[in-house]
Amino acid sequence: MSARLTVVRAGALTTVQDLGRPGHAHLGVPRSGALDRPAHLLANRLVGNPDGLATLETTVNGCAVCVSSAVTAAVTGAPCPVRADGRPVAWGAPVRLPAGAVLDVGAATAGLRSYVAFAGGVDVPPVLGSRSRDLLSGLGPEPLADGVVLPLGSPCGPPATADAVRRPGPPRGELVLPLVPGPRDDWFAPGALAALAGGRFRVSAASNRIGLRTEGPALERVVAGELPSEGMVLGAVQVPPDGRPVVFLADHPTTGGYPVIGVVDGAAALAEAGQAGPGVRVRFVPARG
């Protein structure tokens, strides 16, 4: 019998995530994948996994799972208390769990999403080359539910030592996102980019894996009418008719009909966007270079 996890406490929203399924956007398939990609990569490295193996992505209040056999696990991303059979164990480091142990990933003390890697990875059947749950189109394994059993793969390498890894610091009180203007910045009033940099936006509670929604002053448009649907990229800052920008995250639609004023630059910034909870102040600053 191969190793498996049994979900003891699913948490608010815990999904299986890997590097997603890029290359299918022309069929209307979102890329999906871990929102905080650096944290996903780090968790895998800590347990000796290649980058592409699947981890668990928790939301706000963690999750708990029971392991069927001895396995190495690691928790990264949003810092949180971690317990093995009730005893505190390290966050951001490999933890050896004995057979039958319950790993409890607690509520995030900063940020939103923790990543839980197990040696061998969560080995559910891939869909279009990925094990990621895509919440927009419903591809990939269902979000975790209490009692569900998930298979684990075979461990494939030695865990990394603690000094070989970068520990993400606690997210800043303000989310600063470097922005490359375009492709439709000419649809907006000249002051729109300055308004984005001005810091009067906050993260909306309506944010999810599809997009980071904001609350704040409406951006003023100078081109009226509708934009015919066009292809969308990760990090696109789309401005719907209410004028409040939405930053497209991993499960974003592949095409859209609202103008994109700019694109957030870089995996690190998008990872921070994936960790920013409701009420966090957002500034979109000009990207360098």
Partner: protein, 208 residues
């Protein structure tokens, strides 16, 4: 169709190439696929056609490709080869009467008119396997419903604007429903998962 494609910057790794209309976008998409096949296009993760653009994502150097694209002469779409995909439809949709009224024909004429046309998948989006099919002449274009339905059944064949589409699964939707098919449009257990891919030609066939 000799207008120059107009590239727009999309972050550091993508280009949105704008043209004048859907036919031009289809021609540019076909040209990009030809060049990728021939190995003359730089490596790219996604080529996403849309209404009057093609997005290229995952480029190492979008600026140099942008400069190059403006020198291209994109040939018109090549003439159709082979047989179109034929999709059997029962024309009994909930909006059949409304479409008949908009077209100025009897209800039972909608099936004959629609199934006599040939369509082409211009682009996909909205949901995996949902294709936007062009081929409706301008006089047959119809508006969307003022209030979208909360659930449109899978297999519904529907019209909106210049497009025909087939809902690959049950979902909310605002298109006018003219019929339904039993063909599975999207199945991740099948290769290929999507029946409707950009560039594919399609005909609808009346099922009794």
């Amino acid at each position: 169709m000799t207008a120059v494609p107009r590239p727009r910057r999309v972050g550091r790794h993508a280009l949105l190439v704008e043209v004048d209309g859907t036919a031009e976008a289809q021609a540019l998409h076909a040209e990009l696929l030809r060049r990728r096949e021939a190995g003359t296009l730089p490596p790219v993760t996604e080529i996403v056609p849309a209404a009057r653009t093609v997005l290229l994502d995952g480029l190492a150097d979008p600026r140099s490709l942008a400069a190059e694209i403006t020198t291209w002469t994109v040939p018109p779409l090549p003439p159709a080869e082979g047989d179109p995909l034929v999709i059997g439809v029962r024309y009994d949709g909930a909006d059949l009467a409304e479409v008949a009224g908009l077209w100025g024909v009897a209800e039972e004429e909608v099936a004959r008119v629609h199934s006599a046309l040939e369509f082409r998948v211009a682009f996909c989006g909205f949901a995996p396997g949902f294709g936007y099919l062009t081929g409706l002449p301008p006089e047959l274009r119809v508006p969307r419903r003022a209030t979208p339905r909360t659930a449109v059944p899978a297999g519904s064949v529907a019209l909106a604007g210049a497009y025909t589409g087939v809902y690959p699964r049950s979902s909310p939707g605002g298109w006018l429903l003219v019929g339904r098919t039993d063909v599975t449009m999207w199945d991740t257990g099948r290769d290929p998962a999507a029946l409707l891919v950009p560039g594919r030609r399609v005909r609808f066939e009346v099922l009794a």
